[in-house]
């Protein structure tokens, strides 16, 4: 018997050396010239309470049981709800007398047969090597024991074989730990397959989307430097102003929703790792014209900056804007901006701003979400458009967006993120109002298209930004940065067009206007902003109206 141990694994190649063993098993070796046989007794044990099952893995999965240090297995009971009877233990409240019987009688009457939930037939979940190891799901294979029986032959210590019947067969497949696309998402991506070059970004965006939704601010770093696909597509139709931003302007030729954007972004991405996974949902806005500040954020803008008008906060529309345009030059630097991050939050939601351009009406605060570099952190105001003004070229792209992008719609996709957007709301508060007027004359910055890198939202826009910086060129050197003095194409660019747009849409006070062009966003200092704004207003010469005892400016087309 001891000699039999050698036959443990490869029975076929056993050697015929067993001769005259003392084991009780019948083993005779017939020595003959060319053949020799050994005989083994076969036993079928009768009283086993053990049930033998087969665990089948695909050879391609390269599963080796010897490498397992620890394995846990349990039944997958997730189907119990479907097949099992939901035994809702109803207490006194809400329950009817004899409800169960009535339900049963009703089912019988209609011949409804519910499949029984058999624990025996449920799949197995196998977890190997703990939490970090692999997971497998084992589905029962039917029909194994119907026509033929499988037996497991093992060799015992005494050399005899024992045969155990196989009770059931389970096919185990590895379960993916990485995120996969859902059916809807997959369909979407399929539609864009011709445009999408960088497939990595698809999952990237999906992950970002997931994070936005609930987890955290977009992961700036996560994709650091990786191309982020803009635009989280997928079902989120998020309107965000920064469409343009997101879309790297130059390539954005598509006006179509997101898809095009994506494609564009793709191209852009290649240009440079924007890193930020922000999804820019630019729906074709890139190519649109300049983003006008949609939403009448500026209800009534005080012409006279001397007075301290409280600006009506049009926060919402503004919010969406923040992301605009900045992206262009932003690139990685932007991403690092923390401000952006904070802003991201709102913007993050925006991933799907598909409709950005499309509808003016859509400019809802949702746009704020824009993941794109919403540089101006969260400020709701601004975002709107301003960026576009800046670079002509980039502006074109962005213009696609619907002008009234609330906050989100920065059409200017990459290109010009119009630089001077005052990033910080502080401007509103302030003091600058007084000087605005005064500074009007000195201002020349209507065209500060410098992209304010400050808040370049890291996200996907990065890619977009790449081309846009080129286009915008001057505007915006993508300076990383918060608080750059040079106007960078952040979301907001303090241009005349931008201001005009705001004023046309709704009367605004000077404070409101200032809010729209926050220093953070535009990269201008508050004083500069004031000056520029003053100049612009002087040029525009808007009409004044007193609303709520505050002086509002407005323009009529």
């Amino acid at each position: 018997m001891r000699d039999m141990k050698v036959f443990c694994c490869l029975f076929i190649q056993f050697s015929q050396v067993i001769n005259g063993t003392s084991c009780s098993a019948v083993m005779t070796s017939l020595g003959s010239s060319s053949s020799s046989t050994t005989e083994y007794v076969v036993r079928v044990p009768k009283n086993t309470s053990k049930k033998y099952n087969i665990m089948a893995f695909n050879a391609g999965d390269k599963v080796s049981c010897s490498t397992w240090t620890q394995a846990r297995m349990e039944r997958d009971m997730s189907n119990r709800r479907i097949y099992g009877e939901e035994e809702t233990q109803e207490g006194a409240a809400g329950s009817e007398f004899g409800k169960k019987q009535r339900e049963e009688a009703r089912r019988k009457k209609y011949g409804i047969v519910t499949k029984e939930f058999k624990v025996e037939d449920q799949p197995w979940i196998l977890k190997v090597n703990g939490k970090a190891g692999r997971r497998f799901k084992g589905l029962k294979k039917g029909g194994v024991t119907e026509n033929a029986s499988y037996y497991i032959f093992t060799q015992c210590a005494d050399g005899a074989f024992e045969a155990f019947p196989v009770h059931s067969w389970y096919n185990f497949t590895p379960q993916a730990k990485h995120r996969t696309l859902t059916a809807e998402e997959a369909e979407e991506e399929w539609g864009r397959r011709n445009k999408v070059v960088n497939h990595f970004s698809i999952m990237l965006q999906r992950r970002l989307r997931g994070q936005e939704r609930g987890e955290e601010d977009e992961e700036e770093g996560e994709k650091g430097g990786k191309k982020k696909k803009k635009g989280g597509r997928g079902g989120d139709l998020r309107i965000h102003d920064l469409e343009d931003d997101l879309e790297m302007s130059s390539d954005e030729s598509d006006g179509s929703n997101g898809d095009d954007d994506e494609a564009k972004s793709k191209a852009k991405k290649d240009k440079g790792p924007k890193g930020k996974g922000k999804k820019k949902k630019k729906k074709g806005s890139d190519l649109e014209g300049f983003e006008d500040s949609d939403d009448g954020d500026f209800e009534g803008l005080e012409v006279d900056y001397m007075s301290d008008e409280s600006s009506s906060e049009e926060e919402e529309p503004e919010k969406t804007k923040p992301n605009k345009g900045e992206d262009v030059p932003k690139g990685i630097d932007e991403m690092s901006d923390s401000e952006e991050e904070s802003e991201e939050e709102n913007k993050n939601e925006e991933d799907g701003k598909e409709e950005e351009e499309e509808e003016d009406g859509k400019k809802t605060p949702v746009q704020v979400e824009k993941k794109k570099k919403k540089d101006s952190s969260g400020e709701s105001d601004s975002s709107e458009d301003s960026d576009i003004e800046g670079e002509a070229a980039s502006a074109l792209f962005m213009k696609k967006r619907t002008p009234p992008k609330r906050g989100g719609g920065r059409g200017s996709a990459g290109s010009s993120r119009t630089g001077s957007r005052p990033g910080t709301p502080s401007i509103d508060n302030a003091a600058t109002s007084n000087t605005l007027r005064a500074a009007a004359n000195k201002l020349e910055q209507g065209k500060r298209q410098t992209t304010v890198p400050s808040s370049e939202t890291p996200a996907a826009k990065r890619l977009k930004m790449e081309p846009s910086p080129q286009s915008s060129s001057g505007n915006g050197t993508p300076q990383p940065a918060s608080g750059k003095s040079t106007p960078s194409s952040s979301d907001v660019l303090l241009t005349e067009d931008a201001v005009r747009r705001y004023l046309i849409r709704k009367p605004m006070t000077t404070k409101d206007l200032l809010k729209k062009f926050q220093t953070k966003r535009t990269g201008l200092s508050s004083e500069q902003t004031v000056n520029v704004l003053a100049q612009i207003l002087k040029r525009l010469n808007p009409e004044r109206k007193n609303i709520n005892d505050k002086m509002h400016f407005y323009l009529t087309e």
Binding site: T38, M55, F57, S66, Q70, M73, E96, F97, F153
Partner: protein, 254 residues
């Protein structure tokens, strides 16, 4: 999630135990089920002939008796010799795990697959013929009766079932109106168990005449004519305390 589930005993897997997976014909496994004693069923012969390995299984003599249904005496015996066809495990990695009522264990890996075929012989052919005959028999068949059955559907003056029913009803008698308080107690205790009741069920529970019961119910309850619990009675909101006892309700009535 990785904390759930039973541990799988990997000791035998670590020993690199190898097993064979053998496909065995149904009749053979049936014969094996009849093995006496320790369960010896036969002998496995592994031989090497001209460089090729030949594996064959011989069934023990006593197990070759095939049990067949019907009155026929078994003159058919299953074949004894069964050569094995060896196959590779190639495309799949097969492992064997066992499940007892409380434990899961990995027994080993399959290193060889085989098919047990009977050596074709006269007796095998006869066996197969028998099997086919059995399987082609329909499960249901019509049988002619010699005598007609006359014991059912005889006319009766009053069916036994009916007789019983009437007797039961007579015993029960008409329902008497009990004390209002008692009825209320009964109702409240019933409504503690369930929120909605059919009037029929309440009558059964309280054994009160319907009209009287309805009067009482109108005082303390409300009738749902529409909605998910259609045509059911429930307590009025002020009487409902589904977490409390019934005393409060009683007090309310007073």
């Amino acid at each position: 999630m990785s904390d759930k589930g039973q541990f799988v005993d990997l000791t035998r897997a670590k020993q690199h135990t190898g097993v064979w997976l053998v496909k065995v014909p149904k009749y053979l496994s049936q014969q094996w089920a009849k093995a006496p004693g320790r369960g010896e069923v036969g002998k496995l012969k592994i031989g090497k002939a001209q460089g090729k390995t030949a594996v064959s299984f011989s069934l023990n003599e006593e197990l070759t008796v095939v049990q067949c249904s019907g009155e026929k005496v078994s003159s058919v015996r299953s074949p004894r010799e069964h050569p094995f066809t060896m196959q590779t495990v190639g495309g799949q990695t097969l492992a064997v795990f066992t499940e007892t009522s409380d434990k899961l264990a990995l027994e080993g890996m399959v290193v060889q697959r085989a098919e047990c075929r009977p050596a074709v012989s006269e007796s095998y052919m006869k066996l197969k013929k028998l099997q086919i005959e059995e399987s082609t028999k329909p499960l249901r068949f019509s049988q002619k009766l010699e005598k007609a059955i006359t014991t059912n559907y005889k006319p009766v003056s009053n069916h036994s079932h009916n007789v019983e029913y009437e007797k039961r009803k007579k015993e029960e008698g008409k329902r008497a109106r009990a004390d209002k308080q008692k009825v209320l107690e009964m109702l409240f205790s019933a409504f503690e168990k369930h929120q909605y009741y059919n009037i029929r069920d309440l009558v059964d529970i309280t054994k009160q005449p319907v009209i009287y019961l309805k009067e009482i119910l109108r005082e303390i309850g409300v009738y749902n004519s529409r909605g998910p619990h259609k045509s059911t009675w429930e307590l009025k909101p002020e009487y409902r305390h589904y977490e409390e006892g019934q005393e409060d309700e009683e007090e309310k009535i007073e």
